[in-house]
Symmetry: C2
Subunit: 264 residues, 2 copies
């Protein structure tokens, strides 16, 4: 099992924290004070690791995009990301076309791109729309609302509704599609886009340990579906839809790329 | 009493909510879904109102900056703001220089600029630094950490420390200065920059009504100093430092402008 996840979003949206929470391991390095200067262009940084999920060994690659959306001028900040995605398709195609080719071609193609939306409470920003449109054409994009605890449940519902309208108005299909092959949990789809909270800290609640963020006024529990959609995102990515993400990348996005490449 | 407040920060940082909370009146219009398209450049929009604060009638002008920081390319998004500030100095100077001038010159000069820092948890962004440097040269800038409930108290302390270091490293003095004329509450200064939460919603806590944000896991109280610095900001702006903000604008920032203008 190889699963390649691309993480896109500006700095400070809790991306590293969320990735570590999703895979229960310090995969992404949390940059506390960002002692290293922000890259002057969007970069693509890969971390390869092996995780054990439900007894299955998983070769996981997390590709991060430091510098994305963090500059005064963010024009074309998506280009290095789209190039990276297409480069992986290109490598696969090259290998696939060889006369003496490997039976199991190493798959570095991005199976899923998690796009982090800042919790402004208003609607998608012009940067969000521009980037989502470009990414949606080449890979499975799963938009998530970052730091969901910034919004009350009512604000979240209103925000989700406006985001869904924005996605629709701008022709962004995003994943999961209406007609996904997986026997879909309609209950899950109605919560899209997922509003997530991540945390590496354990707290005690009624004698059991939970992951969460504690403040003077309360404790936000990461895995509590009444508090946020983290558990729904994790189940979708890792349990119910992982195979579909891999298949749709190979049977749909990759095939589109290949067809375009070979008909030139 | 005339007090002119300039509010700067990208969309979705709770600025309108905070202004309304500060002056306990719907001064700033909250744009729920931003049905109106974002302006394609930074605009300057004035709202004039009268509020009654501690029995004193106050002519309050709130200048908002829709479009600021909200575009893919935000280069020079501060220019319309700095121009606006200098324009007010220019008007005052023109009036002051007249032979038959008014004894009480109408004062539209910005006395205080509230700059909203997104609660990323890391440090000041390149946009924040660039804008703060420019604004700091022409007016009293009070940086505030927006939507402070996004950060736990520990994260806030770390964030404040990094921001203070950033401000220092980039030569941004910000208000209040070290040697402010007001008999300063050292306890107040140690909490700078203020991390604030705003809300228009009342909730009942132990039989009394409080302003706050309620979520499934707790209630953030706006006026509770253990929850955030809103009360400190309000006291500083409206109670203890308002006269000093007006005086330093007139005796320091305006005089700098006038001296530069007249020596050309
Ligand atoms: N409110 C809130 N803060 C979070 C969440 N996840 C992470 N943070 C905090 O946000 C800051 C930035 O997190 P980080 O994971 O480094 O963000 P990144 O820059 O996107 O990788 C840190 O102070 C985190 O503790 C979340 O779900 N909610
Ligand atoms: N977490 C949090 N959300 C806030 C706060 N103040 C306002 N909001 C919410 O953030 C969203 C945007 O608020 P608004 O005042 O319109 O922001 P503006 O675009 O900066 O004027 C709304 O959903 C508000 O309810 C706050 O202090 N903390």
């Amino acid at each position: 099992y190889t699963f390649n996840l691309l993480v896109v979003g500006r700095s400070g949206l809790g991306k590293s924290t969320l990735i570590n929470t999703l895979f229960k391991s310090p995969v992404a390095r949390r940059k506390e004070g960002q002692e290293e200067p922000l890259p002057s262009t969007t970069q693509v940084k890969k971390v390869e690791t092996t995780v054990c999920e439900g007894g299955v060994k998983l070769n996981l690659t997390i590709t991060d995009t430091p510098g994305f959306g963090d500059h005064i001028n963010n024009a074309n900040c998506w280009e290095p990301i789209v190039s990276y995605i297409e480069e992986q398709y290109g490598r696969y195609l090259t290998e696939e076309q060889k006369v003496y080719r490997l039976l199991r071609i190493p798959d570095s193609r991005v199976h899923c791109c998690l796009y982090f939306i800042p919790p402004s409470g208003h609607s998608l920003s012009s940067l969000d729309v521009e980037v989502l449109q470009r990414l949606d054409k080449v890979t499975n994009v799963v938009p998530v609302i970052a730091k969901a605890d910034t919004l009350t449940l009512e604000e979240r519902e209103a925000f989700k509704e406006r985001i869904r309208a924005d996605l629709h108005d701008h022709g962004i299909k995003s994943y999961p599609l209406e007609d996904t092959a997986v026997h879909d949990d309609a209950k899950m789809k109605v919560r899209l886009p997922f509003a997530v909270v991540g945390s590496n800290q354990w707290h005690e609640v009624h004698g059991r340990k939970v992951l969460g963020r504690r403040s003077t006024w309360g404790l936000v529990e990461v895995e509590n579906k009444a508090h946020n959609d983290f558990a729904c995102l994790r189940d979708m990515l890792i349990r119910t839809h992982m195979q579909d993400l891999i298949d749709s990348t190979s049977d749909y996005h990759y095939e589109n790329f290949r067809r375009t490449k070979l008909s030139v």
